[in-house]
C-alpha cells in the first residue's frame, strides 16, 4: 500500500528501501546478494519489533488510524466466504459508513457488521471516514435482530473516529440510535463478538461493541474521547494530545488491565499494515475460537453472563 510511513516508522521505511534497492540491483546485474541481504532483513525485523514495542499511546492512536491497516471489508473479504452484503435501515437510507451482511466464517453462518473507512478522498467521502449516521446504526440493529431470529452469531468490526456529528444526524436521533443499539446488544439472544480493529471512537464504537467477548488488536485503541478533543476541553489546547492520550488509558494493554476488553489479538511485527494477511488471519483464528466457545451456551446462560460482565464494570469506593 502506497500511503506514507508515520514519522517514527521512518527508520523502518529507510531500511526497507535499502533492501529493495539492493534486490533490484542484484536482479538487474544477476548478482547473488543473499549474504548481504540476510543481516539487513534481520536488522529490519529487530527494528520493527523495537519501534513497535516502545510506541507511546499517541503513536498507537496514529497507527490505529493509519489507512494502510486492514479495514472491515479487508477482513470480510479475506475471512468470510459466501458473503452477501445487506443494505439499508428500511427507514431512511443505506449508510456506507457501516457495512454488513451474511456469510460464513469457516463452516459457521454468521452476520458480520463493520465500520468502513476509506483509503482515499473519494472513498472517504462515500464512507464518511467511518463515521456513521443514525441510519448506519439502525442498519446494524436490523442485522443484529436478523441474526437473533435465525440464531446466527454476530461479529462486529469496530473502526471509527466516532458517530458523525452533524445536523441531519441529530435531527434523525443519533443519541436514540446509539442508545437503542447498546440496549439491544445487552439483551440479544445470540452470541456477539466485537473486535476493535482500528480506532474505537467512544459511543459511536460502543454502538457496535456490547459483546460476549470484546477483542482488540494490539495497536488498536479505544477511548471515550479523542486525545485531541480531551486536550481541547481540559487544557484548551488540542496540541496537548500526547498528554491526553497518556492520561486516557486507551491502549490495548491498558484496557485489558482494566478488565474492559477480553483479549488482545497480537499484530505482526511492525503492525497490522506490515503484514495485513497475517493480522487478518490472527483475527479469524481468534473469532473462530470464541464463537466455538459461545456456541454451546443456552441463550439464557449467554445473556446472564453478558449482563454480569457489564454490571461488574466500574471502579468506586463505598463507605
Amino acid at each position: 500500500m502506497a500511503t506514507a510511513a508515520l514519522d517514527f516508522e521512518k527508520p523502518i521505511a529507510e531500511l526497507e528501501r535499502q533492501i529493495a534497492d539492493l534486490k533490484r540491483l542484484a536482479s538487474e546485474r544477476s548478482l547473488d546478494v543473499a549474504r548481504e541481504i540476510a543481516p539487513l532483513e534481520a536488522k529490519l525485523a529487530e527494528l520493527r519489533e523495537e519501534i513497535f514495542r516502545n510506541l507511546t499511546p499517541y503513536q498507537r492512536v496514529l497507527v490505529a488510524r493509519d489507512p494502510r491497516r486492514p479495514f472491515a471489508l479487508d477482513y470480510i473479504n479475506a475471512l468470510i466466504t459466501d458473503f452477501v452484503e445487506l443494505h439499508g435501515d428500511r427507514l431512511y437510507r443505506d449508510d456506507p459508513a457501516i457495512v454488513g451482511g451474511l456469510g460464513r466464517l469457516g463452516s459457521r453462518s454468521v452476520v458480520v457488521i463493520g465500520q468502513q473507512r476509506g483509503r482515499d478522498i473519494k472513498e472517504n467521502l462515500k464512507r464518511n471516514f467511518g463515521m456513521a449516521h443514525p441510519e448506519g446504526y439502525r442498519k446494524a440493529l436490523r442485522l443484529m435482530q436478523l441474526a437473533e431470529r435465525f440464531r446466527l452469531p454476530v461479529i462486529t468490526l469496530i473502526d471509527t473516529p466516532g458517530a458523525h456529528p452533524g445536523l441531519g444526524a441529530e435531527e434523525r436521533g443519533q443519541a436514540e440510535a446509539i442508545a437503542r443499539n447498546i440496549e439491544t446488544m445487552a439483551a440479544l439472544k445470540t452470541p456477539l463478538v466485537a473486535v476493535v480493529i482500528g480506532e474505537g471512537g467512544s459511543g459511536g464504537a460502543l454502538a457496535l461493541g456490547v459483546g460476549d467477548r470484546v477483542l482488540i488488536l494490539e495497536n488498536a485503541t479505544y477511548s471515550v474521547i479523542t486525545p485531541e478533543g480531551c486536550a481541547a476541553i481540559l487544557w484548551r489546547d488540542s496540541g496537548q494530545k500526547e498528554r491526553a492520550a497518556e492520561a486516557l488509558k486507551l491502549t490495548a494493554p491498558d484496557l485489558l488491565a482494566l478488565g474492559l476488553v477480553d483479549e488482545i489479538v497480537p499484530e505482526p511485527p511492525g503492525g497490522a499494515h506490515a503484514e495485513p494477511a497475517a493480522a487478518i488471519e490472527a483475527v479469524g483464528a481468534a473469532l473462530e475460537r470464541h464463537l466455538a466457545e459461545l456456541a454451546g451456551l443456552p441463550p439464557e446462560e449467554l445473556l446472564a453472563r453478558r449482563a454480569e460482565k457489564y454490571l461488574r464494570m466500574g471502579k468506586f469506593e463505598e463507605a
Binding site: 445487552a186 486516557l248 488509558k249
Partner: protein
C-alpha cells in the same frame, strides 16, 4: 419579593417568560417527590481515580464542595403524586453531570431495585456525557446502565425518562433515550454531539432552536415537552396508565 425570590419559589422557572433555569438535584427532589416521601439510597458511593488521571481528585473535591458528596446523581425511593417510584436525579453542578463509575453503579442498582420490587423507575437526566477522567471505564457505564434498563424492560416495569438541560453525549446515548416514555423540559438542550463540534464539522451556522426539546419533539424524538411544574403529575399519570391503575379522582369517588 425580588426577581431572584420569584425564581426560587417557582423552582427556577421565570414567572414572566417561562424560561427554565438549571436547578440542582436537591431542588428537583423537593419538587418531584411528595413531601416527606424521599428515602435516599446508595449515598456512600465515591469516585476513585482509577486511571491516575491528572487533576481528577482535585476536580472531584471542587465538585463535592459545589454540589455535595453524593456525586452527579442522587437516587432514592419516593412517591410522586402518590405513586411509589424509584427516582434518580442527575446533578449538572457535579462535574457537568458527567457519568463515571459511581453514576453508572447508582443507576444500575436503582434499576435492579425497580425490577425486583416491580416499582416504576423515573430518571431525571442532566449531563454533558461520559466522564473523560475515567476513560473507557466511563464509556462502559453506557453499557452497564443499558444492561440494567434492558432487564427492567424485559420484566415489564415502566421507566419514564425526563430530559432536562442539558442531556447530551453518553447519557443521551444510553438510559436517557431508553425510557418507555420520554419527557423533556421546555428549552432543554438535548442531543448527542455538542453544537460547537457540529458547527465546526459542517462549517455553517445551526438553525434557530437546534437541539432544543421543542426541536426534538418536532423530529419525533420525544413523547412530550412538559413544564417543570407539571413533571411530577405527568409522570404519575403516565405510570398509572401504564400499570392499569385507576385515576386518583376515580379512586376517591369509589
Amino acid at each position: 419579593m425580588d426577581a431572584r425570590d420569584k425564581f426560587e419559589r417557582n423552582s427556577g422557572v421565570c414567572p414572566a417568560c417561562g424560561h427554565h433555569r438549571r436547578i440542582g438535584a436537591d431542588q428537583y427532589i423537593a419538587l418531584l417527590a411528595d413531601e416527606g416521601s424521599w428515602t435516599p439510597l446508595d449515598r456512600g458511593l465515591r469516585s476513585v481515580d482509577a486511571l491516575g488521571f491528572e487533576s481528577y481528585r482535585e476536580r472531584l473535591n471542587v465538585a463535592m464542595k459545589k454540589a455535595g458528596r453524593e456525586e452527579a446523581v442522587r437516587t432514592g425511593a419516593a412517591t410522586m403524586d402518590g405513586e411509589p417510584v424509584y427516582l434518580a436525579v442527575m446533578d449538572f453542578r457535579f462535574m457537568g453531570g458527567s457519568m463515571g463509575s459511581v453514576v453508572g453503579e447508582k443507576i444500575a442498582r436503582l434499576a435492579r431495585r425497580s425490577r425486583e420490587e416491580r416499582t416504576p423507575l423515573v430518571i431525571v437526566s442532566a449531563s454533558g456525557g461520559a466522564r473523560m477522567q475515567e476513560g473507557v471505564l466511563s464509556l462502559m457505564q453506557l453499557a452497564k446502565t443499558s444492561v440494567a434498563i434492558a432487564q427492567l424492560r424485559e420484566a415489564g416495569v415502566p421507566f419514564v425518562s425526563v430530559l432536562t438541560d442539558p442531556t447530551t453525549g453518553g447519557v443521551s446515548a444510553s438510559f436517557a433515550f431508553q425510557g418507555d416514555v420520554i419527557l423533556a423540559e421546555p428549552g432543554a438542550v438535548i442531543g448527542f454531539a455538542g453544537a460547537r463540534v457540529i458547527k465546526q464539522t459542517i462549517g455553517q451556522d445551526l438553525p434557530e432552536g437546534f437541539q432544543t426539546a421543542e426541536f426534538l419533539l418536532e423530529h419525533g424524538m420525544l413523547d412530550a415537552v412538559v413544564p417543570r411544574g407539571r413533571l411530577a403529575a405527568t409522570c404519575a399519570q403516565v405510570l398509572r396508565l401504564l400499570e392499569g391503575k385507576p385515576a386518583p379522582d376515580v379512586e376517591r369517588a369509589s
